[in-house]
Homo-oligomer: 468 residues x 2
Amino acid sequence: MSLGAEALAAGIAARQRSLVEGLKSWVEIPSISTEPARKADVQRSAEFLRDYALKCGMTTAEVWPTEGHPTVFAERLEDPSWPTVLVYGHHDVQPVDPIEEWEAAPFQPLERDGLLLGRGTADDKGHLLMHLETVRGILDTRGRLPINLKLIAEGEEEDGSDHFEATVRSHRERLRSDVAVISDTSMLAEDVPGLTVALRGMAYWEVRVRSSRTDLHSGVYGGAVLNPIAILADMLAGLHDARGRVQVPGFYDAVRELSAGERQELAQVPFDEGGFLSEVGAIAGGEAGYTLMERRTTRPTLEICGIWGGYQGEGAKTVIPARAAAKLSSRLVPDQGAAQITKLVGDHLRQAAPPGVEVEFELIHDGRWVETPTSHPAVDAAALAVASVWGRDPVFIREGGSIPPVATIADELQVPCVLFGVGLPGDHIHAPNERVVLRQLFRGMQALGLLWDAYSELGIDGLGVRPG
Amino acid sequence: MSLGAEALAAGIAARQRSLVEGLKSWVEIPSISTEPARKADVQRSAEFLRDYALKCGMTTAEVWPTEGHPTVFAERLEDPSWPTVLVYGHHDVQPVDPIEEWEAAPFQPLERDGLLLGRGTADDKGHLLMHLETVRGILDTRGRLPINLKLIAEGEEEDGSDHFEATVRSHRERLRSDVAVISDTSMLAEDVPGLTVALRGMAYWEVRVRSSRTDLHSGVYGGAVLNPIAILADMLAGLHDARGRVQVPGFYDAVRELSAGERQELAQVPFDEGGFLSEVGAIAGGEAGYTLMERRTTRPTLEICGIWGGYQGEGAKTVIPARAAAKLSSRLVPDQGAAQITKLVGDHLRQAAPPGVEVEFELIHDGRWVETPTSHPAVDAAALAVASVWGRDPVFIREGGSIPPVATIADELQVPCVLFGVGLPGDHIHAPNERVVLRQLFRGMQALGLLWDAYSELGIDGLGVRPG
């Protein structure tokens, strides 16, 4: 390591405690974007981030209002002849129910054994502060960045990113950049670094069934009328066959099957199936004929995310309810389209209902799948930076999750998207007891320090290969 | 009509407004027995009834504490050589959710077009005040009752009557009587009077499914692990076949099939199937091969009363939950036993779950079915009283609902049980917009005046036929 590199590493490492303390303060703001009552908290979260960006040396930081929750934009422009990197993350967080399963209060972050527990620590506030504290570390050491840096953090990623496309379109000039680095993904394990090269798309729906005008007494009407929960259960039971294959006609028609080579490559990714399951006490399931890794990253899914109807309280209420409903979601893979799948699933559910039953099927949100070419120099540089810090080449990960704004950035700004995230499978994102492994954030800071230097060396032209 | 009978009818009719006003006051007390937060309200309801009983001329009225909610006991003993009638009802009410479907606040009773709307107006506070105001009317006219009257009103009928058996056993001497009149049932229509001669029994359960330790991200785990909502949906979908027949092995084994004669008798009961369904906007369903009337009164059922799991809020949460659960209930018919059916249903559900999935199955409460011999003189007298007031012979109704305390009274006190209730199918009991048709209560008062005279004439010996 050169003297300059050593000094940079030390300067960045000096920001570790600041990152942890800053993250604790930010996590205390419950910026749940899906809950209308939290609107002011999401606004506060945006303002916190704006102020934090300025404190870390960004020269401009603004809260951009949207028709939903606000987006934060910050930038530090060093030299127009240098490459410009756009960092993407989000400052909103998931809801916290079931609240009773949290070991500690979700918005009172708890540091323990190298972990920080709390909603948003991993997804995605930790990632954003990893970027900003790296900026501070570089500036403290060298006084300037080797690139121009722009940062955009939306406030609705957990609520479908409904206004992100409009935001990007209306600020296209200010967001102009040469490469986007998205930090909202995970590696496979602490000692198995990775870079994500594919994301599944998504469509999220609500289906509502109604079979009478009012709730009915289960004694007076029981046995004589249709029960909407039973109808919904039948519908949902009919979504998969016994081998876990989705039974919606046409569901798999557009799926690009992996080649034998691609399957082999995926099989070589170090992945502890047993540990992956046992860490969360889950039981293997899904589509027969595919490995667990294939099922969770390269195959489309149709999952039930929520269900409700009738009496849910203590004790007994002898009722046949009027209505029942469920939340469903599909993870989509190339070349499935959300609109087409929405039509197929909706038709299938409606056809499964007996005559006279009201079925409403609503698309809540959707997002396209993304694939990034591993051959791009921006990805290559990121792989080198990760290898240098983790001491091991990263594996190229196909991610099971969806980040709809990544597709927006790729499409609207025409930049290559590098998916560099330091989360881990056990981070419990979207679940009780979310946490982040602090060492991952610290290593991530070091990797970013190297990556900005590498992008500086590549220059605008070297980064100028458009994604395939 | 004799002069005495005319005077009695007038004296009872004079109590009509008092009944309505008293009922309004009582309905304002939200005595929901299943909600722990309402405990004090159930106590207030008991005290209201005790005071009301004294005001109406009962000479003793007491609130009996139980390990759950209190029971009210009242009596007026005229002459030990006269027959003693025990009236049963309950002063607790059902929960009110979904609250948004009520036209008016459930505990702010609204009188409109001869109806009184509000939770508990029909089930069962109206019935109890019908009895007490009849007492007042008789006493105002004649100064004494022609029988000895005891009244017991429990506070947990809507919560499984868990402590009623213990209450009856520990007060067996004070409850000693010659006939019990239970007023918690319905007729078929305003112009089709009825007396109930059979009640279905019931078993009510909760089933809980768990397939992971924590909630999981539907992107990271989706397609690779079991989903508890899907498992529960499969379980519930497997409870019935396409013809509506319960698929739990052994479920029908103990069912006494109706004879051809019994089916014919039931077919002659005036019953407007179309109106029964259209009044509540329900759709006919259930077991093929039986009439709608047979299905709702003489056949056992297995209904889903509630379901929940995962995300139920606004928008989207991309989660595979750890758990899902449902409330189930069966209406049982002779000679099904709740314990046996509980075992069969529990075994069936457990066997439907894939290996490794945790299934908990809990009996919340149960109650035996009841049949009352139509040949008993106490029933006969009631039929005459009803015919005299409604101008038409009552039909003998097999009721689809369950009233577990009726079985307790029959078994513990060894008295014939006459099921005289004036509710109507459109009363929306256990549902939003519960109401009572006031004319039904007024006619019921007149019928009770006649009935007590008839029991007086029969005397203890005439009533002394034990139920078969």
